[in-house]
């Protein structure tokens, strides 16, 4: 994941679901923020760069892939309404904002080159010559440091674990000297050129957000429908098994007439769905009892009704058979 410099925090740890994305971004824009907003989700992160209240870039990174511009805002909206996450916002100077832009969106001049194979002095001369605006990243598998450039000269240093921008290269040099250290060089345009557009004006973020909310609601509805369908199928299966069990129990106690009595009582109450209503079950048991008395003695009938009641409660829970 990206290590970005931390300036003075505007806020940290804000739940992503607290404010709708358009509201929050417009509020930050109105405050004239220069800096960045970071959305952190379980498996992804989004970075929104502001310069003097203008949203100059947006990026969503997930795994090895990244989205920018409108796609990033759309994906961020979608994630905000579907996932839990946190938001941090930090103020940065315009120069640092430019350097961070270079890191996130800049042209890659060097990428993953091993430092020991590079003539650092020559590289420094070259960066100065082309008046680099951007960022140099030095890193190993476990450490990383950023060196920020403006007009070919380094003006600040930041490394993992630091809380502020440093003015000395000590830690960066230490990381550069670690075995296997690599280097990336990113170039971007000067800050005054970056701030020529405002994505909040170019993109109707409210529409993007509303579409995401609607899509999420549709998805939730679909999930709810699927869950309801699954519940219905599960219930239907339970009721089918219960009906067969009731017929079997009746058959065991008073023969095939018992089975026919259960079938008739269920049919006269609209089918097995009536088993979900305790009052209907009580009426059904009373009907079976009345009919069974014509073919069996009181003790047999009592056993039968008790058995049926027990099966209903075993399948559908206590109280499902109504009052005895």
């Amino acid at each position: 994941m990206f290590t970005l410099p931390k300036g003075p925090p505007v806020f940290t740890g804000l739940p992503a679901s607290k404010d709708p994305l358009p509201d929050l971004l417009h509020r930050l824009a109105a405050s004239g923020l220069s800096g960045y907003v970071r959305y952190s989700f379980e498996a992804s992160a989004a970075f929104l760069l502001f310069e003097s209240g203008k949203l100059i870039s947006a990026m969503v990174a997930r795994g090895g892939g990244r989205l920018t511009g409108l796609e990033a805002l759309t994906e961020l909206s979608r994630r905000c309404v579907t996932e839990a996450g946190t938001i941090d916002a930090y103020k940065l100077t315009p120069d640092l904002t430019m350097a961070v832009h270079g890191l996130l969106h800049g042209e890659s001049l060097l990428r993953g080159h091993e430092l020991k194979l590079i003539d650092v002095k020559a590289l420094t001369t070259q960066l100065k010559a082309r008046r680099l605006n951007g960022c140099v990243r030095v890193y190993t598998a476990s450490r990383s440091a950023l060196i920020f450039y403006k007009d070919g000269a380094g003006f600040g240093f930041f490394h993992d674990g630091s809380e502020r921008i440093e003015t000395t290269a000590t830690e960066s040099q230490k990381i550069a000297s670690l075995p296997g250290a690599k280097i990336d060089v990113f170039s971007t345009r000067p800050v005054d050129q970056l701030a020529t557009h405002d994505m909040l004006e170019l993109v109707n973020l409210q529409k993007v957000w509303d579409a995401s909310v609607r899509a999420n609601q549709a998805r939730l509805e679909q999930l709810k429908t699927q869950a309801a369908d699954a519940d219905r199928l599960r219930l239907e299966g339970t009721l089918t098994r219960l009906e067969e069990t009731l017929k079997t129990v009746a058959n065991e106690h008073v023969g095939s007439m018992g089975k026919s009595l259960v079938t008739k009582e269920l049919a006269s109450r609209g089918g097995r769905a009536c088993l979900l209503e305790p009052a209907e079950v009580a009426a059904l048991l009373a009907g079976v009892e009345k009919g069974a008395r014509l073919v069996a003695g009181a003790s047999k009938v009592k056993e039968l009704v008790g058995g049926l009641r027990g099966e209903v409660e075993r399948h559908l829970g206590p109280g499902a058979a109504g009052s005895p």
């Binding site: 008073v254 023969g255 095939s256 007439m257 018992g258 026919s260 009595l261 079938t263 008739k264 009582e265 009345k290 009919g291 008395r293 014509l294 073919v295 069996a296 003695g297 009181a298 047999k300």
Partner: protein, 239 residues
């Protein structure tokens, strides 16, 4: 009227069967009320033999009417049980069965009273109709019982319907034999009334007359015993 010992035995056994039947109907469902009331009426229809007013033709006629009602009530009861065994539907109230039976009895009494006092010929005709009803209803009931038994054979009372089958087979023989004697004019009433033109003398057919008479006597006894036994079984099975 000549009353033989076997007739007294028959009346006594039907009295017992009728009591068992009544006792059974009191503690059971409505459908059984028609059947048991009908069998109780069989005793009533036979009871005139031991009644002190046995010589009263109106009473004799009334007993024969009651016998016909008994056949109707029993058949109606088994028809309802058959419907129940196929549809599981049972409706109605027991008191309605008793009330309707009493109403029909009252109507029959009115019919006998408002008409001229029945002669021996009229009484014999009524008895002949009663026997004809029993014979044909016995056949119908045997078929109905076969179908009911097919439905309920694996229930606790399944064997009871075999018992009823035996009862109706005996009733068929009992009433059929008497009907046979009546149709040919070999019955006691015809002898008492006097032979008519064209009647066949019983003395000319001694074996047939004796056989029919014996079948009539013993089948009546057997039917009452079978009925009593069936109701005892049902009482035990349903309580």
């Amino acid at each position: 009227m000549h009353v033989e010992l076997i007739d007294l035995v028959r009346v006594g056994l039907w009295f017992i069967a009728g009591l068992i039947s009544l006792y059974f109907s009191l503690g059971n469902a409505r459908i059984w009320a028609s059947i048991s009331t009908g069998f109780l009426l069989v005793f009533v229809s036979e009871g005139y033999l031991v009644a002190p007013w046995v010589q009263n033709p109106a009473v004799v006629a009334m007993h024969a009417v009651v016998g016909t009602m008994a056949a109707l009530a029993v058949t109606h009861g088994f028809m309802e049980y058959y419907v129940f065994s196929r549809t599981m539907e049972a409706s109605g109230a027991k008191w309605k069965v008793y009330a309707l039976t009493l109403a029909v009895l009252a109507g029959s009494i009115v019919f006998i009273v408002v008409n001229p006092t029945p002669t021996a010929v009229v009484t014999r005709h009524i008895r002949l109709i009663e026997n004809a009803c029993w014979v044909f209803f016995a056949i119908i009931n045997l078929d109905m019982l076969r179908k009911i038994h097919a439905q309920v054979r694996d229930t606790p009372i399944g064997p009871g319907f075999i018992g009823f089958g035996v009862v109706f087979a005996c009733i068929f023989l009992w009433r059929g034999a008497e009907l046979y004697l009546q149709v040919y004019g070999w019955d006691e009433a015809t002898t008492a009334i006097g032979r008519h033109l064209g009647d066949l003398a019983p003395a000319d057919y001694p074996f047939r007359v004796a056989l029919a008479t014996q079948v009539n006597h013993w089948a009546s006894v057997a039917s009452s015993v079978a009925l009593g036994g069936t109701f005892v079984f049902l009482t035990r099975a349903l309580r």
